[in-house]
């Protein structure tokens, strides 16, 4: 790795901006010393390759990933989550190269589960967890993005062809609110033990706000909640409706999971209900997509022939397991729904990787990267 030189940290920052190595915001300058200490905190050798990141096909070595983490503003506490995230997105099922290159706005959404939520710097799962003010969330999510830029080579308009993108392409990381959730940890549905930690990653649109106010006196309240979430999942603009078979994330606030809990529904029940309710009519598809729809439906398992009635309904998702249902956020009226890209060879597969909390050696003063 060749080293750049600069007269001051601020000259270095300007240089990194000019080289296109930032996301447009200030970074911590990845001096050799800071990167070396971040590498040390991973517990791995600097040249260990975690995966290959397209479209540049750069090798994501521990050293390069540590560099991205330093630039993003991470503390050594955060690095186990960053390492796991890189492992996850480098799995072939994630189609990272295609996702980086697509014209769709998709960005990797990181969901952190298990004890790492606390051990790795208090990753927020409550009020405003997808907004500013939470250093762990902000810098961990950004470390993945800076790796995608500098190791994977994503640059807007030349290699990253997102028409508009969305602000989650700066940083997009939350923790599950496991303690207050009626559901078991989301990671357990992917085969992890409750006391293990994992990051679950899906390519996602920005969150779509979903308003619902319940009424405990009305036993049909849960039906209304499931219906409005399903309607947002089936929103006629999303790729899920046009391409189907992607993944959709549903992040429910505690008041909404309370409605689910009172109705006695498990996570699997919610997934099944949402998959069954999220439909769109053949007539709407013919109206909004006269050319594309008739071409794609020929390849679709859910055979809808030219003779289908306008009232017939098509399911938006084929696989209920591709609906990620979890609790996060403060208590109130909103659930968040993230539609997705759905394209690429694996059509928006969800990936995950275990977070290793005992990998790093404890080094006194290690969290003090800032001197």
């Amino acid at each position: 790795m060749s080293l750049l030189e600069a007269a001051s940290e601020h000259d270095a920052l300007e240089r990194l901006h000019q080289l296109g190595c930032t996301d447009g915001l200030p970074v911590v300058i990845p001096t050799a010393d800071r990167v070396a200490r971040m590498v040390l905190s991973t517990g791995y050798e600097p040249d260990l390759v975690l995966g290959v990141m397209g479209p540049l096909y750069g090798a994501a070595t521990i050293e390069k990933v540590a560099t991205a983490a330093v630039m993003a503003g991470c503390l050594p506490d955060h690095i186990p989550v960053v390492v796991a995230a890189i492992r996850a997105v480098c799995q072939p099922e994630f189609d990272l190269t295609e996702m980086q290159a697509t014209t769709h706005c998709t960005a990797p959404l990181m969901i952190v589960c298990g004890p790492a939520r606390n051990a790795c710097g208090e990753i927020a799962s409550g009020f405003g967890a997808m907004g500013p003010g939470h250093r762990a969330n902000a810098s961990i999510g950004r470390a993945l993005r800076l790796a995608m830029i500098n190791i994977g080579g994503a640059r807007p308009g030349s290699s990253d062809m997102a028409l508009h993108g969305h602000p989650g392409k700066f940083t997009y990381c939350i923790a599950e609110d496991e303690e207050n959730s009626p559901f078991p940890g989301l990671h357990t549905t992917f085969g992890y033990e409750p006391d293990e930690s994992a990051v679950i990653i899906t390519g996602a649109e920005a969150p779509h706000s979903t308003f619902f106010t319940g009424d405990r006196d009305d036993p049909a309240s849960v039906e209304a909640l499931l219906d409005v979430i399903a309607l947002v999942m089936a929103n006629p603009g999303s790729n899920n409706v046009h391409l189907r078979n992607g993944a959709i994330t549903v992040i429910m606030n505690p008041d909404h999971t309370e409605v689910i809990k009172r109705a006695g529904l498990s996570r699997q029940d919610v997934q099944a209900e949402l998959a069954s309710r999220a439909t769109i009519s053949v007539g709407t598809m013919r109206r909004i997509s006269p050319t594309f729809y008739s071409q794609t439906m020929q390849n679709d398992n859910e055979a809808v022939s030219d003779e289908a009635a306008d009232e017939d309904r098509i399911h938006v998702l084929k696989d209920p397991d591709r609906i990620l249902v979890l609790q996060a956020g403060g208590s109130g009226l909103y659930t968040m729904v993230m539609p997705s890209w759905c394209a690429g060879p694996h059509q928006n597969a969800v990936v995950h990787a275990g977070i290793e909390l005992d990998q790093a050696c404890e080094i006194p003063g290690m969290n003090d990267l800032t001197t």
């Binding site: 106010t213 319940g214 009424d215 405990r216 006196d217 309240s221 109130g332």
Partner: protein, 72 residues
């Protein structure tokens, strides 16, 4: 909360009803408005959507403190 502060400013007795979850925000507004002692009563959270019985229960629990504030 803000309404209550505005009303109090006009010299009209007022009490803000603030749920537990929003109590810190209430404090914040009271302080930033320069009326840190503006009367407020704490409700459990959530109240909305919890049903008639629960709301009646909450109402009967808090009414005395509201009356106390307004008559003091």
């Amino acid at each position: 909360m803000r309404d209550s502060i505005s009303v109090a400013r006009l010299g009209i007795p007022s009490v803000a009803l603030v749920t537990e979850e929003f109590w810190p925000q209430g404090d914040f507004f009271a302080n930033s408005s320069g009326m840190p002692a503006v009367p407020r009563v704490k409700l459990p959270h959530p109240v909305a959507g919890t049903g008639e019985d629960k709301m009646a229960e909450v109402a009967s629990e808090i009414t005395p403190s509201i009356v106390e504030f307004l008559s003091s």
